[in-house]
Structures are given as structure tokens and as C-alpha cells.
Symmetry: C2
Subunit: 470 residues, 2 copies
């Protein structure tokens, strides 16, 4: 056993240090099998003090550390970079709910707790932890914080950053930052937690957090709309926002091609509305329980819009199961695109008002450069977050060379049009390993320089999650 492994085993105890190749396999390859690295060992700490001692030991021995949650990221941020054998600090033992308080509206939870377990702890006291992601069964709170996770509830509640009141974290020098603040207001100096949120484990390891809870919203109205254009979709979203205030919880759009493809390739889906329209939207309005008859109110509002020609067609779910059927169309998107060919999805955000222009520009440029490709659009319109999906038909593309070349061309086009409209090349997925080069060319040089300086300040040895972000 190596010197570092014995030193770390002495900290966490027998059975909490993994070295067996089979045992560490799931910690060095990401779930989509796109990134693979090498681990000296995987260490499973039980307390913030454990983490502190692990980090100090690695620092003394000059060994790289990779913090890891549920390993559900999209950009390889939780996998050691290839060629640099690292100590993986997997947080799953630190999965305790420390405190939940419905009066404070707070949940104090350890980093290794899964999102679904944290949601359940909130529900137990009749409160809502709004963060919701496809991977919520296995992703962990620490990873959600390190990547500033987004998901489907951002329109109403904001991303993870907006839900974090306090953080406990171990810094690259092993010091424990004790910021488990439960306060709504605190103006006592720099807000250091925001430096750690979204830092992808490059500035320290989050060990626990205090999250904000909200009243549950048991009343829901779900609608499916057919729309003539993205401009009309924006108009309707604006009208609904004025009509329903903060109660508009989701507004997901998809292009006609995306809608048709889902219905064609996923036989379990049923069309809520006939094909032939340019865009479709799925929207939800939610509210506290006994407020009023929400589906009827939504029906009334949309009827006026249909009458006025602003919406081409609309249907409000008459039951919970019909609402779920609407959502099944949205949830089948990834599967449908994968079935249709080799697919890549981009994670763009632009100012909300620029979404139509972005869509047109990208569509035209992709058609010109890759005439064989199918291009679908799906996204969270209210966040300005559109995923442009490029699908290469299997009968026209073969061999990794031609696929990679086409994906590279598509990525360059999407990035160019994104930046031209003041957008972000990574709206919610982060940078990790895969987007470092893109970040370098997209980010303001002053910001990038400041990021590098802060990284060097906190982690002069460069041992904390190297190869990520920078």
C-alpha cells in the first residue's frame, strides 16, 4: 500500500479507503463513459474534520485531490484528469440531515446526501426544496452546490446558488470554512460562499450546507400550447407572467421537428395537440393549496390568447395523469434524439429576448455547414436556456472521424452565435474537463485572469481538482 493510502486510511479507518480496481472503477469513469482517469485511492470521509485531515495530508504529500458527489455531471468535473493519479474524496458517507426547520425555512444537510433524500426531508415538514434534476435520485447536494445545478425549477426559484444560505467547506490548505449561516440577511463582509458555489471543486470541498425551503405548492395547472413562432412564445410567457406573477413554474419549448421526432420514435407518447405547428410549449403554473381553481384560471387566460390569435392551439390538463402525459413528451426528448442518430446537445443561454434571433442564426448556419444533420431545439424559454441538438443520421455518417468533425463544426457555430448575442456557452452544465478550451476563448480576459489569481491564492499548489475549469 502506498504511503498516501496508508496515511489516509489512518484518518478514515479500515473499510473507508478503496484501492481495489473493481471497487474504484465507478469513481474514475463518468456515467456517460466519456471521461476516464486514475485514482491512487478513493477515500470516504465521515466528518468535515476527516476531510480537513485528508486534504492536509494530500497537501503535505503534494497529491491531487478530486472531490466527488454522485458522479452525475456532464463535463467530467468529478473524474481525475487522465495522466494525473489522484485521491478521490467521495462524499457519500456524509449524508446526514443535520436539521430541518419549517419556521426558519431551512434544511442543514451534509454534502453526500442525495438530492432526493434532501427533498424528502423537506417534505416531511410540509416544505419544498425546489431544486429538481433528472439525476436527483443519485446526485448529491455537494455536487449540486459545486456545479450550481439548474434543472426545471429555475424559472420560479433560481438555480442552486439562490437556495444556499450557508456553507461548510474545507479549503485547499485544510482549513474548515464554517459558514453554516441560517440567516436571510447578513452584511458582514465578502460573501465567500458564492466563491465556492459553482467553483466545481477547484477551491475546496463542500462538506455541508444550509438550504432554503419554501411552502409546498400542491395546486398545479399544466398546459400544452402550439405556437406560430418563438416570438409568439415569448409574448405568451410575458403575458402569463404578468397574469400569474411568480406562479409560472415552468415554460419549456420545443421545435416542430423535436415534437414530431418524439411522437415518431417513442410509441408510448401521445400527441396532446396535432402536428403542423412551428413550436410547442409545455407550461405549468403552481400555487398553494386552497388558493383558487388554477386550471380554470389558466384555461380562461389561454382561451383569450387563442381567440386573439396569439396561440394557435392550447389544451389544459384535465387531470394529474394528463399533466404527466404532457411531461412525458418533454422527458422523452433525449431518448428520441439518441434513437434518431448520433446526437450532441449544446447548453446555451442568451438573454431571453434574444432567443428567437439565436434560434434563427444557429439554424441557418448549421443547415449551411451540415446539410445532412437534423437540428432540434428544446429548452427552458424563461431562463433563455436553449439546448440546440444536432443529430447526424447513422446512414450518412460513419466512423468517429466524420462524426467528431461534424460535432466540432456544430459546436463552433453554436458558440459563435451564442457569444454574438451576449450569451453563455455553459448555462447549467458547467466547464469541468470538457469545456476548458471553450471557456478560454469565450470568457472576458479580465474575469479569467481574476479567476486564475483567486485559484492560485487559495490553492497555490494546484492540488484541488486540477484540470477542471482551467
Amino acid at each position: 500500500m502506498s504511503a498516501i493510502a496508508s496515511a489516509l486510511r489512518a484518518i478514515v479507518g479500515d473499510g473507508h479507503l478503496l484501492q481495489d480496481p473493481e471497487a474504484i472503477q465507478s469513481h474514475v469513469i463518468d456515467w456517460r463513459r466519456r471521461f476516464a482517469g486514475e485514482a491512487l485511492c478513493v477515500v470516504l470521509p465521515n466528518t468535515a474534520e476527516d476531510v480537513s485531515r485528508v486534504v492536509k495530508t494530500c497537501s503535505e504529500m503534494g497529491v491531487a485531490i478530486v472531490p466527488q458527489g454522485g458522479n452525475t455531471g456532464m463535463c467530467g468535473g468529478a473524474i481525475p484528469q487522465s495522466g494525473q493519479p489522484s485521491v478521490v474524496v467521495a462524499m457519500r458517507r456524509m449524508n446526514r440531515i443535520r436539521n430541518v426547520d419549517p419556521i426558519d425555512g431551512t434544511l442543514e444537510v451534509e454534502a453526500g446526501c442525495t438530492l432526493v433524500a434532501a427533498q424528502a426531508a423537506a417534505e416531511k415538514v410540509d416544505r419544498l426544496l425546489p431544486l429538481s434534476l433528472g439525476s436527483e435520485g443519485s446526485c448529491q447536494i455537494g455536487g449540486n452546490i459545486a456545479t450550481n445545478a439548474g434543472g426545471t425549477s429555475v424559472l420560479r426559484y433560481g438555480p442552486m446558488r439562490d437556495l444556499v444560505l450557508g456553507i461548510e467547506a474545507v479549503l485547499p490548505n485544510g482549513a474548515v470554512f464554517r459558514g453554516l449561516n441560517r440567516l436571510r440577511k447578513d452584511n458582514t463582509g465578502y460573501d465567500l460562499k458564492h466563491l465556492l458555489i459553482g467553483s466545481e471543486g477547484t477551491l475546496g470541498i463542500v462538506t455541508a450546507a444550509v438550504l432554503r425551503l419554501f411552502p409546498r405548492m400542491p395546486a398545479t395547472a399544466t398546459a400544452f400550447l402550439a405556437l406560430g413562432s418563438l416570438d409568439k412564445a415569448l409574448d405568451i410567457l410575458g403575458r402569463l407572467s404578468v397574469r400569474f406573477g411568480g406562479r409560472v413554474a415552468n415554460f419549456e419549448v420545443m421545435s416542430a421537428g423535436q415534437y414530431d421526432l418524439v411522437l415518431k420514435t417513442c410509441p408510448e407518447t401521445r400527441p396532446p395537440l396535432p402536428p403542423g405547428h412551428a413550436w410547442y410549449a409545455l407550461l405549468e403554473v403552481d400555487d398553494t393549496g386552497d388558493a383558487n381553481d388554477l386550471p380554470r384560471l389558466l384555461q380562461g387566460a389561454l382561451a383569450v390568447d387563442v381567440e386573439a390569435g396569439r396561440v394557435e392551439d392550447a389544451v389544459v390538463a384535465a387531470s394529474v395523469s394528463q399533466g404527466k402525459a404532457f411531461w412525458s413528451i418533454r422527458h422523452a426528448v433525449t431518448e428520441a434524439n439518441m434513437r434518431a442518430g448520433y446526437s450532441v446537445s449544446h447548453d446555451t443561454s442568451v438573454p431571453v429576448s434574444a432567443v428567437p434571433a439565436f434560434n434563427q442564426n444557429v439554424e441557418a448556419a448549421l443547415k449551411a455547414a451540415l446539410p445532412d444533420a437534423l437540428v432540434n431545439h428544446v429548452g427552458h424559454l424563461g431562463d433563455g436556456n436553449i439546448h440546440v441538438v444536432v443529430i447526424l443520421p447513422r446512414d450518412r455518417y460513419s466512423g468517429s472521424g466524420s462524426i467528431e468533425r461534424a460535432f466540432r463544426i456544430a459546436g463552433e457555430i453554436v458558440d459563435r452565435e451564442t457569444l454574438a448575442l451576449g450569451g453563455s456557452i455553459s448555462a447549467e452544465h458547467g466547464i469541468g474537463q470538457s469545456n476548458v478550451r471553450r471557456l478560454n476563448s469565450a470568457k472576458d480576459p479580465v474575469a479569467l485572469d481574476l479567476m486564475r489569481q483567486i485559484k492560485s491564492l487559495l490553492d497555490p499548489q494546484g492540488i484541488m481538482n486540477p484540470g477542471k475549469l482551467f
Copy 2:
């Protein structure tokens, strides 16, 4: 004219550099006349490039810089520290609305724009900029950002930090940080704007920002409640939050003594409810226009609470003017306390559930230490932000020695009880010059050390607003 003044005049042009003692008077003394410093000159830049050149010049000459907005702060943060003649950079010429977009829900505005002008620009496109403060007629957006301003809309919309999407700022080395992001989602590295928000001008000068706008909420219901205890107030706030979701906009409480004092000393006020109850609350629920009959809904909810004995008495405003009369009680608090004696107000936040314990502990300790003093409590219950007001009767205290001594004792008691409950010694007013010593003893040493390191990294010369925060 000094070398620095001539160099700066060459940047901003004739007429935009003030040296005349009378002209600079209002820039070197705060509005409450508690802090006074010396200025080498006051410079009025017109663009971010002006600010950049001013900062570079001061950096080359090793001269201290004090950024200044409306000079409405409570802690001397915008006034040169005594004994260090400084260049005051007053932002009032940079007061342009650069862009307002109701679809994006964004307002791009320069730092020197007053809050009231920014609110008006939002209203022009039928949107709401929710930040609202007593000083909104003269405070400026740059100062609101630098101090992470709070005010009366935090319960529903959060403090200034939550309203800022993007920032343009000049760093202490003169570099312009161009982060005028209009995006709701952007996960491309460290979120540097959060380092500048609330940094009180110690890390740079904010020159412009993109702020979030919301739908306007024209429907309002205002109620005044009599409550048996703070625990009961918390219970009612919780019930209303579940009943009305995010629509509870304000929940202000005051102690019986505070209520009685306002009615006694401010003859223009009328009691909405009879005296004799332990606590009073003023609450407002607001919503989009045509949603429903909000006052009737609030009346119904409160009637159930009165029936069940959870509320001792309640009245819902029957008209806008009656609602305003309720608010006039709240707005008269500062004036009433000043009329009653020598008064000092503390700016505490604790976890919401700890407010009753905080109140009891502080009340008991203050009564024991200062039996002659009157102690009132007023605050934003939903934010856990209680202002403990200590009033020394003029007939029992005279001479600054005994007053200062009593205020010091009161401050030590309030801080001790605040920290014992995991609270913050400065919920919304910041640190500035006046709270530096208190911050040093209250803040986690790891956090304080990290703050100092970041300050040294960005401002190695220590020229940017010296004597503030540290």
C-alpha cells in the same frame, strides 16, 4: 493645485474636479454627521474608462480612493477615514439608464443613477424593480450594490444581491471587469460579481449593473394585527406563507412599547388597534392585478386565526389610504424614538425561529444592565432582522460620557446575544468604518483571513476605500 488633482482634472475635464472646501463638504461628512474625513479632491467621472484612468492614476501615485454614491450609508463606508486625505470618486454623473427590457426583465443602469430613477425606468415598461429603502430618493445603484442594500422588500424579493444579474466594475489595478451579463443562467467559472456585491468599495468601483425586473403587483391587501407573543407572530407568518405562498410581501413587527411610543409622540398617527397587546404586526400581501379579491381573502384567513385565538385582534385596510395610515405607524418609529431620548438602533439578524429567544434574552440583559433605559423592538420578522432600540431618557442621562458608556454596554449585550444564537451583527447596514472592531471579534477567523487575503490579492497597495471592513 496638487499633482494628483491636475492629473485627475486632465481625465475628467474642467468642472468635474472639486477642490473648493465648500463644494467638497457634503462629500467628506456623512448625512448623520457621525463621520468626517479629508479629501484631496472630489472627482466626477463620466464613463467606466474615466474611472479606470482615475484609479490607475491614484494607484501610480499611491493615493487612497473612496468610491461614493448618494452618501446615505449608516456606517461611514463612503467617507474618507480621518487622517488619510483621499480622492473621492463620486458617481453621480454616471446616472444613465442604458437599457430597459420588459421581455428580458432587465434594467441596465449606471452606478450613479438614484434608486428612485431606476424604479421609475422599470415602471415605464410596466415592470417592478423591487428594492425599496427609506433613502431611495438619493441613494444610488452603485452604493446599493456595494452595500448589498436590504429594505422592505427582502421578504419577497431578497436583498440587492438577488437582483443583480451583471456588473461592470473597475478593479483596484484599473482593469475594467466587464460582466454586464443579462443571463438567468451562466455556469462558466467563479461568479465574480458576488465578490463585488457587498464589498463596500474595498475591491473596486461598480460603474454599471444589470438588474432583474419583475411583473408589477398592483393588487395589495394590508393588515394590522395584535399578537400575544413573538411566538404567535411566527406562527401566523408561517400560516400566511403557506396560505399565500410567495405573495406575503412584508411582515413588520413592533413591541407594545414601540407602538405606544409612536402613538404618544407622533400626534399625526391614529391607532389601527387598541393598546394593551404585547406585539403588533403590519403585513402586506400583494399580487398581480386581476388575480382575485386579495383583501377579502386575507380577511377570511385572519378571521379564522382570530376565531382560533392565534391572533388577538386584526384589521384589514378597507382602502389604499387606510393601508397608508397603517404604514405611517411603521414609518414614524425612528422619529418617535428620537423624540423620546438619546437613541441607538441595532441591526441584528438571527434565524427566524430564534427571534423570540433573542428578544427575551436581550430584553432581560438590557433591563439588568441599564434599568433607566427604554428598550423598543421593531423589525422585519420574516428576515429574522430585528432592530433593538435603546433609548436613554434625557432627564437621567447627560454628558456624552454617560451616554457613550450606556450605548457601549447596550451594544456589547446585543452582540453577545446575537452571536449566541448564530446571528449576524450587521444584517443590512454593513460594516463601513464604524463596525470594524465588532466584525473582528464576531466573524469566523477562517472567513476573516480569507477576506484579508482576497483584499490583498486585488488591492495589494491597500488604496481602495481603506479603513472600511478591515
